[in-house]
Amino acid sequence: LARAAVDQDEEEQPLQAVLVADSFNRRFFPVTKDQPRALLPLANVAMIDYTLEFLTSTGVQETFVFCCWMSDKIKDHLAKSKWCRSNSSNTVHFITSDTYRSLGDVLRDVDAKALLRSDFILVYGDVVSSIDVTQALQEHRLRRKLEKNISVMTMIFKESSPGHRARCEEDNIVVAVDSKSKRILHYQKTQGLKKLQFPMNIFHSTSDEFEIRHDLLDCHISICSPQVAELFTDNFDYQTRNDFVRGILVNEEILGNQIHLHVAKDGYGARVSNLFMYDAVSSDMIRRWIYPITPESNFVDEEGKSCTHSRHNVYRGTGVSLGHGSQMEENVLIGQDTSIGAKGHISNSVIGANCIIGDNVILDRAYIWNNVHIADNVAIRQSVVCDGVEVKTGVILKEQCVLAFNVRAVVGPDVTLPEGTVVSLHHPDEEEEEQDEFLSDHAEAGHNKATKKDKANNSKELGTEGQGYIWKSSSLDHTKEDELAQSLWGLVLNPDPESDSESEASEGSDQPGSRTISPELDDIKVFQTEVQGTLQRGLEENIGCDNLVLEINSLKYAYNITLKEVMQILTRVVLEYPFFQEGADLSTSQYNTLLLPLLKGWAPVFKNYVKRAQDHLNCLASIEEFFLEHEAHWGALVKVLMSAYNLDILEEDGIMRWFSQEGTTDKSKLLRKNQGLLKFIQWLEEAEEYSEGD
C-alpha cells in the first residue's frame, strides 16, 4: 500500500524542465556580443520563446531557466512575456550565475540546489520544436519502473535523411541502437570522418539485431532522470552533454547506466546551433513545417507580433507599407511598421519591425532584423543583418555575410561585400584582449578609440561612410583552422562524400601557392627554432609526447601560429633533425637510420596535429617541399612515407590524393616519377584493394 502511495506521488509530481539559456560557445560571435543567443530573433520571435512554447505545450509545469551571459536581458525579456503572467501554466524560475562555463556547471548547480524531484526535460534556449514528448516520457518512466535507476536519459531524435536541409554537416551523428530495447550503444559525430567505426563490445550477444542510423537529427531535447545531475557532480570533467553521453556509454559496464533513444515520428525539432541552422529553421518556419507554430499564430501573444498570412506564404504585420511595383514572391515575413520602397524584389526572407527599405532592393534568403535602414539599389543574398544596421545605396551583400548588431553600423555606399564577410562595430582583437568578455560588460569601454584608429583601414571594404570592422574576409578561406571552427555559417553541406573528396583535392592543389605567403616570417622562424629546441629537449630528457604537444601548443599561441603552419613546421623540423644532429653531409642511408627512429618516437605528436583529410595533404605537401629542397635524399622519401603510413600518421587515401595531384613545378613532377615512390604507390593501391574487403 505504501508503495502504491509512493508511485502515485511520483505521478503527481509536476513535470519540470531545465532550460539552458546559454550556448557556452561562440558560434554566433560577434552577434552574441550584444545579445545572448536565446534572444536572437528567428522569424521575428526570440528563440527562447520557441523553446518555452515547446516545453509548455508538451506539459511542462515548472521551468528553470539558467542564464549566464547577459542574464539581465534574458530576465527582462521573459518578465515581459506571457510565461511570467499569472495565468501561465508553466512557472518560470530564473537561476543566474556568472560562474557557469558549461552545461556541466549548470547541472552540478542543479544537483547542489536539489531543484529537481523527478524526471525532467533538458533543452537549450535555442531549440525550436513542436514534438510531443509525452510518449517518450511514458516510455522513459516505464523503463525506469521496470529497471530502477538503469536508464538515465532518453534522447529525442527526428528522422531526417542525410542531405536534408535541416541537417548541418557539423552536427551530423551516427547512432548505434539495440533494435529491441532502443538502447543507445554508440553515439558519434561524423564530421570529417570517412569511415565509421563501431567497437565490437557494443554488439553484445544478448541481442541479435542492431540498428546503425545516420538518418537521425539530434533535436537536443533529452528526458533526464534526476541522477543525471548527480552524475555530472560525480564526474566533474563532464562539460557538455556529449561528454556525458560518451561517458555513460563507455562506462556502461561499470556504472550500469544506460541511455535510450526515442525517434519522433511527428513534429519538428532542431537546434539553432549556427547560422546554417538559423537559415534552415527560419525557412522551415515560414514554409509552415513547424505547424502549429507558425508566424501568424502569434503564440507569444504580444502586441505587434501578429500578422496576416496570404498565398505563397507571405506574412505581413500591421502597418506594413509596400511601394509601387514591389514584389513579394514567396516565403516572406515582414514585421510591424516596416516600409518597403518601390520596385523591390523580395523572396524567402524575414524582415523585422520598423525597418525602412528603399527602392529597387533585392532580398533573397535575407534575414533583416529590427530597425534596419536599407537604402536604394541594395542586393542582399543569404545574409543576416542585425538590429539597427544602416546599409547605404548600392551595397551588395553576397552569400553568408553577417552585419552584426549595432545601431551605428553603416555599410556603403557602393561596395560589394564578398561571401562570408562578417562586420561588427567591435574590434576583432578585443576578443583576444579580454579573455572573459563573455562574462563582463566592460567591452564597450575600450572600443571607441579602437574605432577611430582603424576606421580608415576598413573604408575600402566598407565604403567611404562605413563604420565597423571586418572580422573575416571570407569564411571559405580554410587556411586558419581555428576560424573554421568558429565559422558562423557552419560548414557548407557536402551531400556526396565522393564529390567532397574532389573538392578537397582541388583545394589541396592550390595550397602550395598560398603556403609561401605568410606575413610574419620572423615569428614563424622563431617558432621553428623553438619547436626544434622543444623536440631536442624532449629527446634528451625523455619527455613524453603528450607534454611535447602541450609545449608546442603553448608556443603556437605565443607566436600566433595557425595549426596548418604548426604542422608544416613540425614536419620540416623533424625531417631536418638528422642534419641538425650530424651535420649536412649525410648519406641517404645514414639519414634514414637517423630519421626513422625519430619518426617513430614522435608519431604521437604528429598524430595530434594530422587528423583530417586536409591535414594529411598539408603534411604531405610539407614533406614534398622538404625533399624538393634536398634533392640528394630523394631515396629517403619512400622510407619516410612508408614509416609514416605504418605508424598511422598518414593514411593511404591522403597519400594517394597527394600523389594524384599534379606537381606544380618540373621538379615536383620529377619527384613523382621517383621509382621507389611509384613502387610504394602501387603497393598502396593493392593494399587498398585488399583492405576494401574488410
Partner: protein, 460 residues
C-alpha cells in the same frame, strides 16, 4: 528457361564425420529419404524441369530415380568432379560453365527448408540483382546431441549481416573473427542507406541466385574458389565500389582490363547494362529509396539482396545436431504416410504418430516407438523401447533393448537387452548384449576418424 538450378552435392560433410565416414552426405537418410531429396523436391515444387547436380562418382552411382523417389519428371543432369585437390563451390560452378546459359540458382544438397522459393527469386527479378540469397533465423537446437551431452559448445563466432531499412538489400557481411578492430562502415554507404540494421543469429542457407555475368566473372577469375567464402563477400563489397562508372566503349574495357590485369577483372565490366533497361530506369519515376534525389540504386550496377525467413523450417544438415533436428522436423515436411505400406508391424506394438517407419521393416510385438525414425529394412524385435532416436537402414535391434536419444547408423546390430542412451552407434557396429552405454560415441575409434577427416576435408 529463366533460371538454371545447380545443386552442389559433392561436399563430404566434414563437420559431421561421425555420420559421413561411411555414407555420403547427399545420401544420409533424413526422414527415410536421402538428404539430397529435399533440395530436389524444393526445386520440383516450384516447377524446375532440369537440374545440374555436381557430385562425386560414388554418389552418382547411387543416384537412381528409384532411390530419389521424385514424383515428377525432373531431368537430372549429373556432373562428376574429381575429389583430388582443393575444389571449392566456385570451382565447381566454373566446371559446369559450359552448361550455363542463363542466370543460375545455386543451392547446396544439405538444405532442408519449406521456404517459398519465389520470395528469393522475386527479389532477384524485381531489382535486377546481381545476387539474391536466402537466410533464416538460426534455430536453437533443443535435442541432446549424442556424445556431446554436457559439453558446452565453444562460443561460435557470429556472422554480422547488414541490411537496409527494408530488410532486403544486403549491405554488409562479416564474421566476428574478422572484426577484431571493430565494425567499420564507410560513411558514403551510410549516406546512401542511412538506416542500417545489423543482424546476428542468422543462418546462411547457401542458396544463391546469381546473374549470368557473375558466372562469367567467375570464369575470368580463377582465384576465387568458394562461393560463400569469397564470391559473395566480394559482390557485397563491390556494390559500393568507387569505380562505378561503366567503361563506355570497348577500348576502355580493354584498357581497364590491362590496368587491373587479367586475374582481377572488374565484375562491373561484365555486367553490361541492357539499353532498354537503362532507358526504362531513366524514364521511370520509380526509385528504390527515399530521402535523397539521386537515381534509383544510386547508379550502382551491382546489387545484392537477401530474403530472411523469420519463421518456417530452414536447416542446413552439416552437423550432427542439425541432422538430429532435421529428422525430428522431417515428418512435418513429408506428405507420404509415416509408415511405409511394405513395413510389417505386429499388432501389439505402439508406434507414435510422430515416428516414421521405412520400407520392409519388421517390428515385433510389445515394442514401443516414439518420436523416432526407423530406416528401411530394419528389424526390431520384441519388447524394445525406442524414443527420440534415429535408426538408419538395415539396423537390427534385438529383444528387450532400450534406445533413447541416439543415432544408430546403417547395418548396426544392437544386442539383446542393451541400454543405449544418447549415443551414436556407427555403421555396421555390434553392440554386445546387456551392454550399457550413456552419452558416448560408439563408432570406429577416434584416431581413425581423425585421419579420415584429414583426407576428406572438403569445403561444403
Amino acid at each position: 528457361m529463366e533460371l538454371q538450378a545447380v545443386l552442389m552435392a559433392a561436399g563430404g560433410g566434414s563437420r559431421m564425420m561421425e555420420l559421413t565416414y561411411n555414407t555420403h552426405k547427399p545420401l544420409l537418410p533424413v526422414g527415410n529419404k536421402p538428404l539430397i531429396w529435399y533440395p530436389l523436391n524444393l526445386l520440383e515444387r516450384v516447377g524446375f524441369e532440369e537440374v545440374i547436380i555436381i557430385t562425386t562418382k560414388d554418389v552418382q552411382k547411387m543416384l537412381t530415380p528409384d532411390r530419389l523417389k521424385l514424383d515428377g519428371k525432373m531431368k537430372l543432369d549429373v556432373v562428376c568432379i574429381q575429389l583430388e585437390g582443393e575444389m571449392g563451390t566456385a570451382d565447381a560452378l566454373r566446371h559446369v560453365q559450359q552448361k550455363i546459359k542463363t542466370d543460375v540458382l545455386v543451392l547446396s544438397c544439405d538444405l532442408i527448408t519449406d521456404v517459398a522459393l519465389h520470395e528469393v527469386v522475386d527479389l532477384f527479378r524485381a531489382h535486377n540483382a546481381s545476387m539474391a540469397m536466402l537466410m533464416s533465423k538460426l534455430h536453437e537446437f533443443t535435442e541432446t546431441v549424442p556424445g556431446q551431452k554436457g559439453k558446452k559448445k565453444a562460443g561460435e563466432q557470429r556472422d554480422f549481416v547488414g541490411v537496409d531499412a527494408t530488410g532486403q538489400r544486403l549491405l554488409f557481411m562479416a564474421n566476428e573473427a574478422d572484426l577484431e578492430d571493430g565494425l567499420t562502415i564507410r560513411k558514403s554507404i551510410m549516406c546512401k542507406h542511412p538506416s542500417m540494421r545489423i543482424r546476428t543469429g542468422l543462418l546462411d542457407a547457401h542458396l544463391y541466385c546469381l546473374k549470368r555475368c557473375v558466372v562469367d566473372f567467375l570464369v575470368e577469375n580463377k582465384n576465387i574458389s568458394s562461393i560463400r567464402g569469397e564470391l559473395i563477400p566480394y559482390l557485397v563489397r563491390k556494390q559500393f565500389s568507387k569505380s562505378v562508372n561503366l567503361p563506355n566503349n570497348k577500348d576502355e574495357v580493354e584498357m581497364s582490363q590491362k590496368m587491373e590485369g587479367q586475374t582481377n577483372l572488374e565484375i562491373l565490366g561484365s555486367c553490361k547494362d541492357e539499353e532498354l533497361l537503362r532507358l526504362t530506369q531513366e524514364r521511370s519515376c520509380w526509385n528504390d529509396h527515399h530521402g535523397d534525389m539521386s537515381e534509383a540504386y544510386h547508379g550502382g550496377k551491382v546489387r545484392c539482396y537477401v530474403h530472411i525467413m523469420e519463421d518456417g523450417v530452414c536447416y542446413r544438415v552439416n552437423t550432427l545436431a542439425a541432422y538430429i533436428e532435421a529428422n525430428r522436423m522431417a515428418p512435418k515436411l513429408i506428405e507420404d504416410p509415416p509408415i511405409h505400406p511394405s513395413a510389417v508391424i505386429s499388432e501389439c506394438t505402439q508406434v507414435g504418430a510422430d515416428s516414421i517407419i521405412g520400407a520392409s521393416c519388421q517390428i515385433s510385438d510389445k515394442t514401443s516407438i516414439k518420436r523416432s525414425t526407423v530406416g528401411a529394412s530394419s528389424t526390431v524385435r520384441e519388447k524394445v523401447k525406442i524414443t527420440n532416436s534415429i535408426l538408419m537402414n538395415g539396423v537390427t535391434v534385438e529383444e528387450g533393448c532400450n534406445i533413447q536419444g541416439s543415432v544408430i547408423c546403417s547395418n548396426a546390430v544392437i544386442g539383446r537387452n542393451a541400454d543405449i542412451k544418447y549415443c551414436l552407434v556407427g555403421s555396421s557396429q555390434r553392440i554386445e548384449p546387456d551392454a550399457r552405454h550413456l552419452d558416448s560415441n560408439l563408432s570406429i575409434n577416434d584416431s581413425a576418424l581423425g585421419s579420415l577427416k584429414m583426407s576428406r576435408d572438403w569445403p561444403a
